[in-house]
Structures are given as C-alpha cells and as structure tokens.
Amino acid sequence: MLAEAVTHAASDLPVVSMIGTRAMLFEAPGEFTLAQQRQIWALMEEAGGRSDVQELIPGVTNLMLVFSVPPEQPRKVADWLRHAWETLPERHIKGRLFEVGVRYGGALGEDLAHVAAHTGLSPSDVISIHHAGEYTVCALGSAPGFGYLHGLDPRIATPRKAVPSLKMLAGTVTIGGMQAGISALTGPNGWNSIGFAEVALFDPHRDPPALFSIGDRIRFHPESIEL
C-alpha cells in the first residue's frame, strides 16, 4: 500500500499516495518555495507525456495524476514519479505580468482586522506588506480560473477561517495560510478577505478560458484603502 509512505511526511522524501483507484497524488517535501513549485511544473510536463494520464491537477507543491484507467501497479508509477522528481531540472515559465488594483479593507475586505490581529501588525502594515510583493501563479484550481499565488510575505500569513464566509464576492483578495489569492466565484470561502479587485478570472467562451496561467506574475497596488 502506498499510504505507508506517509510516515515519511516529515522527511526530505516526496510522498506519493493513491486517492481511490484512478488518482495518484505526488507531494513534494519541504517548504512552499518557488523552486519546489517549478519542479512540480517540470513534473507536470513530464507526466503529461504518459499515455495513461488523463488529467493533471497541479496543486501547491503537489501534483495529482488522474489516470484514464487505474494503473495495474501504482508502485511503478510512484517510482517513476520519484525518479523524475530527483532528475528533472526546475521548469522556468516566463509568465505574463498582471498589475491588479485593489480596494483594500471595507466591507469587501472584512477580515483585514482579523489578519492584523493574528499577525500582530496594524491593518495598514498588512496592506503595505501585501502589495509590496510580487506573486506567482503556482496552480489553478478549486474554482474555475482561481490561481494559487506564491509570494505571500510570511509576516501576513493567516490560517483559513474556522467558519467560512457564506457569500464572498468573486474578485475578493484573500489570504489562506501561506497562500494568497483572488476569489474566482461568488460563494462560500474560508480564506481571509482583505480587499477587492475588479477582475474576471474565468470565461468558458474565452480562449484560453482562464485569465491566469501557471507561471504568470501578479503585482497588487492599492486603488483605495478603507480602514
């Protein structure tokens, strides 16, 4: 059984596990760094060449393989993934740069005070730290077009909320643990809202349908601040 590998979770080795019979999850060891994510992108490209792979779902320092038919010997695929991980160079993607204006705070960024309280910073410090950085789209997922962003300053990292907001607007600028994002759809959301941006992240009739691709970079700038 592959799940026994989980006992190594704290070590330097990747963890490979099956989810049901048709999905395999590869989790990179170590921290959430851009270097790790670039290697996930490399693994994604490599795994995309396998004839048994129907879909790939890159996550944050992990990659899920969805097979067209269940692998006969998952361990062989797991070994292949581990070997590829060890040997592949990082894949550098020269993404586009998006400049995104944010209306920080106010009703659409109602968790700003919570983030400030959690981090021990003032709300305006949270805002300046948030828009000082450059973010990279690591993966798209959860909702159509939603980008998981790397680049959040650890000083403003804030765990997901215990009780999700029931109707967070699409375009809400959020923090979920060490991850940053812009919500893609209006609906329930457990991430902390700190502002709002006027962007349409997904349109199924547009080509490509998602605004962001992996490797794209995002810079935020304040359009307004309401404390």
Binding site: Q54, V60, R160, G177
Partner: protein, 335 residues
Amino acid sequence: MITVLETSALNTVQDLGRSGYRQLGVGTSGAMDPLALQVGNILLGNQPGDAGIEIQTYPFVIRFEAAGSFAVTGVDAAVELDGHPVLPWSVEHAAAGQVLTVGPPRRGARAYVCVAGGLDVPLVLGSRSTQLRGGFGGLSGRPLEVDDALKIAGGPASSGYGALPPAAALSRPCDRGEGNVVTLRAIPATDYHLFTGAARDRFWQTEWRITPQSDRVGYRLKGDPLALQRPIELRSYGIVPGIVQVPPAGEPIVQMADANTAGGYPRIAGVIEADLWRLAQARIGTRIRFAQCDHSQGVAAMQPIASYLDDLRMMVALYRGSVQRRAPLTSGTQA
C-alpha cells in the same frame, strides 16, 4: 423539443462529465450516477456521452413537443405518460404532445431522463454537463426551470425493451444482509495514518448517516467525529470524486460529481469508483458504512460493471437488429 412543465430545485442537464479542464480549476460535473445515464443511452442507441436530465427533486414533468423515445433510469419510481404508467429502465415512445411525469422514487435518489439522440445543448469546454458553480454548460449554466425548452438531437428509436437495473443485476459489496445500510468500499488515502488509531477504527466501524447538507458537491456524514493525532494545515491539492475528507469538526465529507478541483482538508480515504453510484443513489438519512479494500480489489470491482454494460449493449444490439429485420419500414428513423 421537450418543454419542462414542472420542476423544482436542482434538476440539471448532465452527461458523463467535463474532463480535461481540471488544471484550470474546472471540476468534471457530470451525472452523479454515470452508470444509470449510460444504461439510458445504451437502451436508446445513443452515444455513451450523450446528455440527459438528472432529476433530484420530484415530481418532474415534461411535454414532448415532437414524437420521441425516452428511457427513465436511475430509480424505481412511478413514471407516467399522459397518466398511464410506463416502466422505468426501459425504452418508451412518446407521441407529440404527450406528457411524461416522473414521480418520487420508491428506490434510489436520482433519476435520469434520457432521450433518443440526446439533449441538444451546446458543448461548453467539451461537455454538455451543467457546471453549477461556474454557471456554464447544460442549459445556460443553471438548473432547469418551468417553461424551459430543450432540443432533442434525434427522432424516435425502437422501443419496448428494457434493462435489469444495476441494483438488481450487480451484487451489493460486502453484503451482510443489512438491507438499509449502504456499504461503500474505500481505500485508505494520503492522510489516513495521521488520524488516531481510534479514529481509523471508527471510520470503518461507524454507521455514518447522510446529512441534509449533502448535494452534488459532496455528502456530509454524521457520526462520532474523527480526530487527527495533531492538527495540520495542508497545502491545496487536487480533488477527485470519491475522496473522503475530514474537516476540523471531524465529520467526513465524500466529494461527489460537482467537487471542486482542489481542497485543503485531510484525506482519510477514497471511495472506489465502482461504488460511487450507490452513494449517488442513497438518500439523505441513509446509513452508510465504509469497507476497507485495496487497490487491486478496487480495480477488480469495476469488472462486473463493465460486463453488465457490455451485456446490455449486446442485448440491445440483438433486439434492435431483430426489430429491423422483422419490420424494416416501421422500426423508427434512427440511423
């Protein structure tokens, strides 16, 4: 063309799902019980991926504006054509103007109304399935409403035959003679060993109850909470239908057809694909139990389903061939 005369919340157009866009965050959607949809399409001589209507709330009433053949699968329910009972799981013929009523199921939860030729809604990102969260696919990306008109892509097919429902044809997994407990085989998943020993045991032993907070996205289960050895904050990872996650409150969620493509809760197990349709047909309040299996058992479990569908295809081909030989001029216009 068919017109919707009566419907309530959450009846949608679905096919076998939208694959290939998960890396853009687009979940597959598709029929909750893909087996039932496939049976309907096979009976009608449709393509496997043709779209039908998934019914979750009853009664559901439509009018055929032109003659057409249909099959209602998924459930055992009172199905009537202009007030006269017709059989579910069989090919029936409706004349122009006839009204089809699907009443509340005696068994099962989700009915599929399949029509000869399939429903002619636009393909969006390769599928006709309704993506409720994204608001696209199906009919304008939303559940069906009264007065909606749905185009049908084909005419009448030969009728007068049916399928043995899968619930009767396929033996129940790990049947202990407890008629009202649904057993689902599952494989321990990524975070299984991060749960306490007691939680792991309880996961398999508990008769979980399906809560009313269960829908096409996921089934929330009620039972004694499952505890982790210590709390963990996971990085977002890919989700597939069947994954059993345990949020901090400790009660599991089984992700279903409308699952998001990514999530962050610990994963205790994955329900095998062969048993997911049984969960899709289990109603709110039903008790379910997970039975541990391994990968090879999970793979082998698909075999009876494949054989069942193969046999059905063969039976339908024989029947349609024989009808055409006997009455080549009256056996319908299906190419």
